[in-house]
Symmetry: D2
Subunit: 329 residues, 4 copies
């Protein structure tokens, strides 16, 4: 009931503080006999690793995640899969000065109010490092729904804004920005933010292609509701919408009804077979000012957060796939 | 696993099709010894009843909800509270013509694809009538957190737009629009929509005042995540945000950090003691054209949906109150 | 979290006090398109109805359960199925004398200590009447696993003792005692108990035939664990075992290993394809002395409890069938 | 839904195969600020470690469990506590001969039928090693209910039989047999079993002292039901009863009602403030014959299983304590 588990048929139970021994996850409900690749998992984790974005330095992390259980001879066993990534780059030194360092918009103060105790050496459970657990879970979810493509894009950040491209298969790394050739501009923009101790949020759009009609439940576990929960469970996410989303407020019903794609692949809470299109807003990272100029802080979290939002979407979809499958004979 | 239950410590299990015997709910986890008032419950239900909004006619509903269990001598027993409202105004006649009437944006077609069967006489589980269960649940939730005020406002609809007022206690019925004296204008606008067989969506803002710091959990069951799930589980809701929400995408971190109220009462997923401010977008109702001109169809659902969004927020808050209380000694 | 729901893929949420409006249940997770028969459901309920056992009088109950939702034109819709049976034979009169009537072994006193309030007109939630909800749930579970035969027998009661017969299909009503021709003797025995204000418990054995290998989970949700929970959730049940059960304590491992049937169809917590054999002990009913001589009290609950234990077994099996099916592609 | 988690307010999620990297657990729902002692945890684990019982050799295990999260400066943080114990004594060599080694009464064959794949090097998830996770969970549960004493005894094994003593505080290790001075006899008996490649089951009785009235829920989550589930989730347990248990089948209601202690501390599924007395039967261990003569196999599992049954009882009690506390204001 402390909410460290997510999902029903496939669930992840996340553990670990940012400055403790490590971050880990137990993924339960992965079917037996699926092919596991440590390289693929590591590659997925690398997409969210620090140090890829302009102006930040890599936190030296253990090279590979350690799979503690649930995989045997590169096949899933159907048993819980535990994966651990140790924290290896903890800053040494005087943490006591951080004891009362409460960043606005962050969990520092509310954690203290809630628990009366916290690991003040870092963000604890509310650190971005906890999202490692989600990316690992997303990797295993993708094994369950191999035909479904989930792809996230940074569709707005500072002066940069773009629509999702028709071809979602192209590689847009490292910024996941849909327009090619903008990498240098974005990089310079981020470097400048960094220099000024400033931060930015922005928007991401996620496409899930290949979801058949019929996933999601009619009442509370609507697909849109579970996707919203999964995405809002990410620290920096402050809004969620699907399809036309907020634009729906400005349109006549007759206009909205014209094109099925306005509904973003979800009607009545259930997938309709179309592309599912989701939008989220990220707030600017909480650390600003001199502290933000230190190497490890991201001036914008979106590029590194894209694999995390993709993972949460994959987890929700795999869960609803298994739920629907339970009732099909 | 069919997702007809919502909540953990206090849960509602909803049942009933729009054109079946009735709509009902089992509310489990209401503490014993709380004062129950059938009048208050009926009054709350009346707020979402049809026929209050310009141009619509009341669906004749049973005058009073029937409490089937869990209440004795006007006190809650701590046992499950079942409440039933019978459907009394079902249209008679030839439903067969509705069999293939799939409204865009509605669950008609996806339900058929999912279940291979549906009660084609109406929206079934996806009808707005299902929200009766939520309003009943919200009433009981409010008994658990009597000091918390949850109030929803229609902040945008067609040409009408307004901020939430500082004083949230004023009665803004029947449209829940914050600016006084606009009732006639709104009424005329709605009547005109109705006449044209048109529909509109819009926006609502919900304030939860009096929530102490410390509710919500650090990882997946963040308060914002559970609120998002609860609100997106409402059929017509297509977006969710809290605090500055989507506006966060356009602001520098240093600006966002200046005022704690930008975070809408939730930091790190946990309440910080401030007003919680939530925003949702409603899509236009799915029925347009000649059919929409019939008496019972709402040209805009927001006024009747306000009690529903309030109910979902109350349920989430009461749940997290009980969750937090479990660990306090 | 008040524990009024049971099951995961198929769940029952039970409500109702013995002297309130009625007893009901919401059955969620029944697949769509299954054939429903009100007659079959009523027949199943009749098997647990009062007044069949010697010396007791029927509590006049509504003739038929009322299906409130989830069934349309005698097909299940895949939506929650709510069923209500009204209490029609409530004793009128002075209930106040019952306020402090705490029967040993019954929930009267512990309910008061737990909740600080109770419906003192009867057993409330702890009344045997609550088991109506389970029998209804068991009926719907049996629709999901139509090839599995679940049959309970009274294998011990007073001087009567018998093994389960090889042919489990024979009708042993009304006492569910395996040896034919003993009905009169049992009847006389019960009548005598009744006359003396005495009560008896005994034992029941349940056979589940046709369960394929592979149901149940390796760790906590072992089939035996979930069956134990389901059966011990019945008020009068005080012991559970499967296969050789308690006899295992007196045998060498080499002897036990000789015959697979010693394991009662469950190895490592997972069904092995054999008959599943379960044993439970019932305590004597709590009401003894002059009060027990009143017409409605059963001197032995087992005959009426057999449909209840069968129902719980069916619910557990249907749940694990759906769980296993979720992971099979 | 693979059943690797147990508990609601405090839950354990167990992972690890017997011959994989290690066995671990995530304990979620431990309140913040409790004093943690690695020494106490290690001592508890030592009670179930191999090699204490006559004739068996210790499997060399890592000296200390590794706490991966949730504890900071020897205080619980309120965050999930992950603990890992590595498998260090894996037999090397040719495991292929074990591929089709299906022991009767064990999970070998049913696991294969269920999953179609297994880690054939050992018992996998069904190994006794998985119970490490439970003992760790039980340790943290005991921090939540420090005033409650849970003590298990081996009350029957081969020719040895004894009642639970009035004073449950005395140390009865290593065999947990209530009669002092029998250690040598038991040891010789076990050595002889071992020599003959034989195994034995037996019975255990568990006392929970200090549980206040009011824990447990009226319907499905009766205290006896949750205890039954917890104890039957242990591989070797084949029966459960509380209070007089099976003896209830042979007694008149008037006799049973005479003494409240006959009900074993649970009335109506809810604790009544008395000692809770539980009985379980263990089957003989599955390995017999020449293989059983190898050093690491236990001829009787009960002495090592006592800490495991105690742990499951502690987990259930702590869970119900927190559940009850949630509704008390």
């Amino acid at each position: 009931m402390r909410g460290n588990s997510f999902g029903k048929m496939i669930s992840i139970t996340s553990f670990g503080e940012s400055h403790g021994v490590g971050i880990g996850v137990v993924v339960d409900g992965v079917p037996p006999g699926l092919d596991f690749s440590l390289e693929d998992l590591a590659a997925e984790l690398k997409r969210r690793a620090p140090g890829q974005v302009a102006g930040t330095t890599a936190r030296k992390e253990s090279d590979l995640p350690e799979v503690l259980s649930g995989v045997f001879e590169n096949k899933t066993l159907g048993t819980p899969i535990a994966v651990l990534i140790r924290n290896t780059n903890q800053r040494s030194g005087d943490y006591d000065k951080l004891k009362d360092n409460y960043r606005p918009g962050h969990a520092d103060e509310t954690t203290m109010k809630k628990f009366g105790i916290r690991d003040h050496r870092g963000g604890g459970r509310s650190s971005g490092r906890e999202t490692i657990a989600r990316v690992i879970g997303g990797y295993f979810a993708s094994l369950i729904i191999p035909k479904i493509k989930v792809k996230g894009f940074m569709t707005k950040m500072g002066p940069f804004e773009a629509e999702v491209p028709a071809n979602i298969d192209e590689d847009c790394s490292p910024y996941h920005f849909p327009i090619k050739g903008k990498e240098k501009e974005i990089r310079d923009y981020l470097l400048n933010l960094k220099k000024e101790g400033e931060s930015r949020g922005g928007k991401a759009t996620i496409i899930a292609r290949g979801v058949p009609a019929g996933w999601g439940e009619p009442a509370f576990d609507k697909l849109k509701a579970d996707l919203a929960k999964g995405l809002l469970s990410i620290g920096a996410v402050v809004s969620f919408s699907f399809g036309l989303g907020e634009k729906m407020a400005d349109l006549d019903g007759s206009v909205v009804s014209e094109k099925r794609e306005n509904f973003g692949g979800i009607e009545g809470g259930i997938s309709n077979g179309d592309d599912i299109t989701l939008n989220v807003t990220f707030k600017p990272t909480s650390t600003v000012g001199d502290k933000a100029k230190e190497g490890r802080h991201d001036p914008c979290i979106i590029p590194r957060a894209i694999p995390v939002v993709e993972a949460m979407v994959k987890l929700v979809l795999a869960d609803h796939y298994l739920r629907q499958n339970a009732y099909e004979f």
